[in-house]
């Protein structure tokens, strides 16, 4: 079961059968928790729990991690910028919020095995180089302070990927639409159907966008454009044609939708969303865990 959770999705597992609104609400609650998090220990605990959850409910870890792979560059960029430019006050408050974590980390060096092989000798932070020049400050502490938001971002993306991988996109958008119905959008003349359909069409359009960009690129190169020699011209051609393509697509799809009686109001769905006992149980456990996580880590373990 552990191995199968690594490689395959079992659509019969409990999590797949949850109402999409339950999953979206869970994502919202957990995102709020994570945003407010200041402790590395609690984040690592949360991450561990997420992987355990994926194993227990046969959600393929490899598939989820594959969806995150394209974002590695962005993670690295965020880390680098924070690492170099993080302000001293943020580092100090980070260290103060994570005293226990650093104490545990530094205490590793006292274990005999680590002393014998001189592993983790760098854990004695005072011996490590520290660089400061103007607003730039680089040290082990800034390294961890820079890594912290990347870890938060990683967990948020992981949770979102779990939701999108385990839910039919149309049902997810329908769930979003039903949740938007509870917001006072009508006061601002915004229809929840319009909003959710916009999200859905944007997601659907992304593969078309890549295909169109590829066609434009191939067409330009077939007429003699060498991208490496004229990158600015290439970007101009690509951006102009892509924008035209997006505008034309929007115009055509909106005509097609109007032609099929779309008004933005009163739209029903081929799918029926119904909460069942598993949804209520899941929501109850979610709030229980959130309560535990918030109060225990914030007030007792730091």
């Amino acid at each position: 079961m552990v191995f199968s959770s690594f490689v395959s999705n079992s659509n019969s597992s409990f999590f797949y059968k949850l109402d999409p609104r339950t999953k979206l609400l869970s994502l919202a609650v957990l995102s709020i928790l994570i945003f407010h998090e200041t402790s590395v220990i609690s984040l690592l605990f949360f991450l561990l729990l997420t992987f355990l959850f994926m194993f227990l409910f046969s959600i393929s870890v490899i598939d989820i991690l594959k969806t995150i792979k394209p974002l590695l560059f962005i993670f690295f960029l965020i880390f680098l910028l924070r690492f170099v430019f993080i302000q001293k006050e943020h580092t100090i408050s980070f260290i103060s919020d994570n005293k226990i974590f650093f104490e545990i980390f530094q205490n590793f060096q006292h274990f005999e095995i680590f002393q014998h092989f001189q592993i983790f000798h760098f854990l004695n932070f005072e011996n490590l180089p520290h660089f400061e020049y103007g607003f730039i400050s680089i040290s082990v502490y800034t390294f961890f302070a820079a890594l912290f938001p990347v870890l938060k971002f990683f967990i948020l993306v992981l949770l979102s990927s779990i939701i999108t991988q385990t839910t039919n996109t149309s049902k997810l958008v329908l769930g979003l639409e039903r949740l938007f119905d509870y917001l006072p959008l009508k006061k601002f003349n915004i229809s929840s159907t319009d909003l959710s359909l916009m999200i859905f069409l944007s997601l659907s359009f992304i593969p078309n966008l890549f295909n169109t960009a590829n066609q434009i690129s191939v067409s330009a190169q077939s007429r003699g454009l060498v991208i490496k020699k004229k990158p600015v011209l290439y970007i101009r051609i690509l951006s102009t044609n892509l924008i035209n393509s997006i505008l034309k697509y929007s115009y055509d799809i909106s005509n097609s939708m109007e032609g099929r009686c779309y008004t933005g109001y009163g739209k029903t769905s081929i799918y029926e969303l119904n909460f069942n006992k598993y949804d209520f149980l899941f929501i109850f456990l979610l709030f229980l865990y959130s309560f535990f996580h918030f109060f225990c880590f914030r007030y007792f373990l730091i």
Binding site: Y249, I253, S256, R260, Y262, T263, T268, S269, I270
Partner: protein
């Protein structure tokens, strides 16, 4: 052929339209479309056929004149939802019409907009896909379908809203011969079920059972008549007339004359067509 004494379902009176000032214009368009009829709008590229098609569905509104669908003017914004329930439109490129991740979801889009229940939506989707011969394709992604299959799904998407009039805007232009014939069969079946068909195309030759043909050129109606009148008007190419005469010959008509020039061809065809009418 339906009696022309009944009330028209679509009526255009002195319609003028242009996209923006100084651009291409539709000028003084007037005609009626009667329930249950098969009408062709034909003409060269850029003549305004597709623009006319979008006027029939209320997507475009005329600058002057009136487009009335079953007593409702397209200029009346409050009537547009009801007009679009009456008149469905299928576009040339099926791939720009898809809004669902699966064929089933896409065809369901129209009935969902009508506020129908989930059960009724599933029933309509099944019926629409059966009508176009695409049962079994429910879980396929529409963008992965071939041109002919995609066009059938696009037609099913409009059929599911159960309109009285269906406008087909050059639906066979991007298709091969086999797929075009399949689409035309579907169109003819819909006509036999009592739907009013408005078929926009460059070439009306494959559609010999049309009740009326209007030719649009440079934004004006330059020809209006029956299919036979269209053939005799000189717009039908001579080589195709020869094919037509061979067809008549196979069906027992006296086509034995040596055809030397276009004048002979046309006059002989008129004789054959008159004989055809007498037979009826």
């Amino acid at each position: 052929m339906t009696s022309e004494k009944t009330k028209p379902i679509i009526s255009l009176s002195n319609v003028n339209f242009e996209h923006k000032p100084g651009s291409f214009k539709l000028s003084d368009i007037s005609f009626d479309i009667f329930p249950g009829t098969f009408v062709i709008l034909t003409g060269p590229n850029g003549s305004g056929k597709s623009t006319l098609g979008l006027l029939l569905n209320g997507i475009y509104k005329p600058i002057s004149g009136k487009v009335v669908i079953d007593g409702m003017s397209t200029s009346d914004k409050s009537k547009l939802p009801d007009i679009r329930k009456k008149v469905g439109i299928v576009f040339q490129n099926p791939y720009i019409q898809f809004v669902g991740n699966t064929v089933e979801e896409d065809v369901a889009f129209g009935p969902e907009n009508l506020g129908l229940s989930s059960k009724e939506i599933k029933k309509r989707v099944k019926s629409a896909l059966n009508a176009v011969g695409m049962s079994g394709y429910e879980n396929r992604n529409p963008v992965d379908l071939s041109g002919g299959e995609a066009q059938k799904v696009a037609i099913a998407g409009v059929l599911a809203t159960n309109p009285e009039v269906i406008v087909f805007d050059e639906v066979t232009s991007m298709l091969d011969l086999k797929s075009s014939k399949q689409i035309l069969n579907i169109v003819n079946n819909l006509k036999s079920q009592g739907k009013t068909i408005v078929f926009i195309c460059h070439d009306p030759r494959p559609i010999s059972n049309a009740d009326k043909i209007y030719t649009v050129s440079a934004g004006k109606i330059v020809f209006s008549g029956t299919y036979s009148e269209y053939i005799l008007s000189g717009k039908y190419p001579v080589s195709d007339i020869t094919e037509l005469l061979l067809h008549f010959k196979k069906n027992g008509y006296p086509v034995d004359v040596l055809l030397k020039d276009p004048k002979t061809v046309y006059s002989h065809l008129a004789e054959v067509l008159n004989l055809n009418r007498e037979k009826d």
